[in-house]
Symmetry: D2
Amino acid sequence: MKRIGIITSGGDCGGLNGVIKGAAAMARAHGATCFVIPNGYAGLYNLIEFDSLTELTEERIDAIDANLAGSEAGHSRVKVKKIEDPNKYERIKAGLKKFNLEGLIISGGDDSGSVLVDLTEHGIKCVHAPKTMDLDLQTYSVGADSTINRIATFVEDLKTTARTHNRILALEVFGRYAGHTAFRGGVAAGADAIIIPEIPCDFDIIYAHMKQRYFRRIMNSDVRSGTYMIVVAEGIKDASGNEIVDESSTPDAFGHKRLAGAGTYVTQQLTKRLKADPTVAEHMKKAGMFVQGINEIPEVRAVTPGHLVRCGHSSAYDVNFGKEVGSGAFILLNQGISGVTVAGISGGKVRYMATKEAIAQRFVDTNQVAIYEAQGICFGRLPGVVNTVPELLTGNIERLY
Amino acid sequence: MKRIGIITSGGDCGGLNGVIKGAAAMARAHGATCFVIPNGYAGLYNLIEFDSLTELTEERIDAIDANLAGSEAGHSRVKVKKIEDPNKYERIKAGLKKFNLEGLIISGGDDSGSVLVDLTEHGIKCVHAPKTMDLDLQTYSVGADSTINRIATFVEDLKTTARTHNRILALEVFGRYAGHTAFRGGVAAGADAIIIPEIPCDFDIIYAHMKQRYFRRIMNSDVRSGTYMIVVAEGIKDASGNEIVDESSTPDAFGHKRLAGAGTYVTQQLTKRLKADPTVAEHMKKAGMFVQGINEIPEVRAVTPGHLVRCGHSSAYDVNFGKEVGSGAFILLNQGISGVTVAGISGGKVRYMATKEAIAQRFVDTNQVAIYEAQGICFGRLPGVVNTVPELLTGNIERLY
Amino acid sequence: MKRIGIITSGGDCGGLNGVIKGAAAMARAHGATCFVIPNGYAGLYNLIEFDSLTELTEERIDAIDANLAGSEAGHSRVKVKKIEDPNKYERIKAGLKKFNLEGLIISGGDDSGSVLVDLTEHGIKCVHAPKTMDLDLQTYSVGADSTINRIATFVEDLKTTARTHNRILALEVFGRYAGHTAFRGGVAAGADAIIIPEIPCDFDIIYAHMKQRYFRRIMNSDVRSGTYMIVVAEGIKDASGNEIVDESSTPDAFGHKRLAGAGTYVTQQLTKRLKADPTVAEHMKKAGMFVQGINEIPEVRAVTPGHLVRCGHSSAYDVNFGKEVGSGAFILLNQGISGVTVAGISGGKVRYMATKEAIAQRFVDTNQVAIYEAQGICFGRLPGVVNTVPELLTGNIERLY
Amino acid sequence: MKRIGIITSGGDCGGLNGVIKGAAAMARAHGATCFVIPNGYAGLYNLIEFDSLTELTEERIDAIDANLAGSEAGHSRVKVKKIEDPNKYERIKAGLKKFNLEGLIISGGDDSGSVLVDLTEHGIKCVHAPKTMDLDLQTYSVGADSTINRIATFVEDLKTTARTHNRILALEVFGRYAGHTAFRGGVAAGADAIIIPEIPCDFDIIYAHMKQRYFRRIMNSDVRSGTYMIVVAEGIKDASGNEIVDESSTPDAFGHKRLAGAGTYVTQQLTKRLKADPTVAEHMKKAGMFVQGINEIPEVRAVTPGHLVRCGHSSAYDVNFGKEVGSGAFILLNQGISGVTVAGISGGKVRYMATKEAIAQRFVDTNQVAIYEAQGICFGRLPGVVNTVPELLTGNIERLY
């Protein structure tokens, strides 16, 4: 295969530039060339109208900074399925033919993966380099580690303001169906509570945990200082297991309804309980914090960093993984393998899965959650049982890096 | 003076721990001791009820990390004027007497400064160490430089996500009446437009500037990539000079009404114009970005980092300045000077102003704005005239550090 | 088991505080308590002389910041084998007995692991939580990911100064026998060459790679700007496979001789070749950089960040992994398993290896190196063959997080 | 003036790209154009041989990232005075004539400033935008604030490793004659001792300060943890006022002899005293740290970050200041003012000094040092007297931003 198009799609995150560089450099090593198809599926659909495509020469690859998050190739909100043009696949094929592109490397999440399955069925050879900040594919996917590090840093930073005002703070992060980044970012930063879609949240349990811990900290501090930090995924469910969906919103391009602000919801739930709890005033008085009519209960605040958790820099792991799955995608494509998702390269093997299988949603393992509940983090339920069987390993074991 | 209380108050920010350390260490050097009055005016009002106060010994000073933003002493939303207790000043004096505190060092902004004027009039000796992230006092005040650096970093980081999706992005930051941090953070990060309360914003002007620059970037990019970054202060005014106040909100403890979300407002103003502009589709088509019904105009998004711009770390300058005004506050208090605001220490002089004068609001100088308009930044008006007279300096000149 | 001592030992790095917090919190969840044995094996040897030990209560655990690198428990250069006291094991046992400590959790690298084997043979129950920044144990070990991120950031930062002066720059990092962190940090930051102990370095090959790439960049730059970045591990070998050891140095506590400065060595090797190469002046002239007697060849510089790559913050992954292996260490110890190294917790299993096996040195896989050689990075040899067999995966796969 | 050349020279640092962008954008606003003269004086000397120069169009200015430290224009080690060509000024003039450059904006330090004086005397119109990381000009100069922030961050980070091993650590930074960055970075990071060229260092005084503070911290820590952090400028002098020069080194292009490693020197001085002090073993025993033959005295280590303190990112202030002095340089040049150094823009005035006067070295004010000695920082002498006269200010005062 001599000429390959690269597309990145979906939400942006860390590691995407690593995928592009890895694919393009590996192609060059095999005498092939990669070309950028700009702005995701918008560019793919409009390919036929382009005068020229940017070739990823040694020089041009050099100019891409893999340490920067986001994608040099660009994304758009266009999903192939949603394009109403009945001739869209013909138009796409005509575009590929115009530039003699023999295959595609597509980096994206589950929506992109399903597009890839479509394209493959329409006879277009494609390999999928997994990307989703949410980490809810079966494989690891670029972006998650960068985001988890950013979430952790933000929580850590927010502790200074929370402690100064003795506030309870909820940081709302992405995670519509799976809470991997809230979970791992929260653990990393020492959050007191982590609320994820996988575990319906009983706010009475969070409240009780918060009240004990918050006032203990304040009373044990010689300057009467304390806080309670919550990390909450946008897609949380209440104790009855219902999503906190904003019913008034219209579905997006991918058919998803907007969720209600999880941070605000947490704030309201806790404030309501603080106001209704007659013992809080007593605690505030003991702490010297109570002032009638002005400072009777602690404040609860939400922070929603939004795009800030997905931008800026790529973590070292995401660049490494990105370069490997990008390279691997070329190697597989070059060997005629299509419709698959690269899982990684190790021990001289390019590991991959069928894309249909790879994009099945993967949720946070509640066994793992129980390990952290035992360590004192509240997940909005009564702590699970730590069910850990020792397992002896021998020989060469799989590991990060 | 042998025993002094330290209070920090108002919004938290960088440099406050420097103030506390500087004051306490300078007191120790003069054989005096500082004590922490916890949680701002809540602690001052309730002082009488405390069993003990934390003394800032060598050990305890050591334990305060001046590199962390926020305040070891703590803040609260309590403002002395708002406390309804008619005996509040007697109660405060009784508290001070209980612990034999002869004077107060208060670090805060204009509201704290006015409390300090009150307290002075009630016979309590106080010196003011200026703090406001907003930089709208007459003197420099701790917190501004830290915040400006954080704003700049956030804008820089956001460029990766904005460019990836070819989005126009507005970062909303604090600044109710004065736009110093939006201005300086925006300049530092190379924002394309900066909207501040001092300059009523004509969105037609912003829109024209945006459209030219945004599409120029995309067409000049070999991967059709571009963005347009806006930094907007919360307290912006529209072209007729009216604040974007949320009328439905109730006034806070300091009598301020909540402002409408400036980021959202900017987003709406620009999106409205993009939708109404018949030439945009043509530009989108030329860029290969147009897809009927899905991607007809560029997206405009807002990010509101909130507390994230005021937390985390203190900049080096804020720690240096904080330690100097903290030290200076003790020196002045120890010499019997009260009711004043420290402006800095240099050349062997502790410089100060009457607090009444120091807390007069200082706005962004529109002469300085014109310098950046000439450099291509849009401030929502037609560029001002660069009116710069050369001025020859000789001898020892004032400078940062 | 009710009372357990925690020891951290060897070089410090990220994730250690996670280990301590994870172990102590998991112990509390089982009704047991952990105690800090201060300063590594110095504290263990002197335990008998302590009046008290710090108990890791809920409060005290709270006070440990897992986001900070390094260890709250402290380290020292003491290795039990090197202590000349013939009664040392009796003394250690007496110390453990004095405080009724029934077992030890020890976090350290290969040297600590071998001490653990010793202690186990002397009847002291211990579990090993793997730590080594160098990543040269069989399992993943806390510290590596934090260090790799720091190396990557430093290389990225150094590009600004290198490009400004058109310098070739070598960043020297730790890695006496294994080059994992140089390798992964270099890949992450887009280093042009990476020199690791596993691959004897032929400087003629590096030189040729550098010359081509460096001058290509400069000539392709419209401001005649270029650089070439090298990451080099301290323990590199020359083309004949000999270590660059400083023969004049005396062995350290662990019997290791000091290695010669790898950064300086690289600098000398490249400068020597630049001086001897008659075509360099021509290149310099073409670039407009040549000035007789002053600027005839490009400069090569070395930077040795030393401790800076191991301090500061822990990466999110290191905290997560640390908390898990700390927890796992308690769980195993509590089940009577001793003399083992925790490899991780996943899927409800605490996975472990015999410590003797776990501390066997693991080197960089040269198959993986070949993947990056194909992408254009020079490792001081002719590029290896990319020998990658596709491997289809199904079902639940192992992954980071 | 319609065509202007921009040169940056000397050591690189933060803010330089701000200067370039500010100058070029302000020129454009006046209908003039700036051109990059690549690689400092090497490019100026070789200008005659260039085929073309890069014009700073709107597009090209856009491509310069002011947040990155270093200079897009490039530097070199070439100093005009050192070029042995007797016709060098004619050659330079011919180069300027070839490209019709009517004036130069030069950003550099004292050496660049003196070149500028030379060039002016040879009839070339130039304005100087002050740059020196060392901050030893009369005006503020870009780079200092960025460097001070980096030094502070490094010291802060190093505390984790120092505390873990109970080490005394010395961070060596630049500062041959003036210690501004060591001073301000050290204050910002809470260094225990700061050694600067302005104050000859009595190591007996440092030692006594260290011993008291180091062991106090360890004994007051419940985990026997402590450190002592030193920031030392490369150009320190010993108690007799002699520089620690490496006599064996040959003078550099600017006639300076290499200084001995200040970090290593500090390490040796303190270690020597620790070894000779019979009471140290007693302290080590009390702390439970003593092990015969292995751990008898605390370790002292030096870290030399070198280029790491001058690279990476520019602080917000440096970008703001850089853009202002760059703009100001154009404005002055355009008004026919030459041979001067821009000091800043404020209140509608472009302030400047004669370059001859501006490049006179400015040292750390020992009055300011005394303020920090009173706060407990040791500067290698007996604490100075705090000589602070209160000074009342009124009206509009000068301040940062």
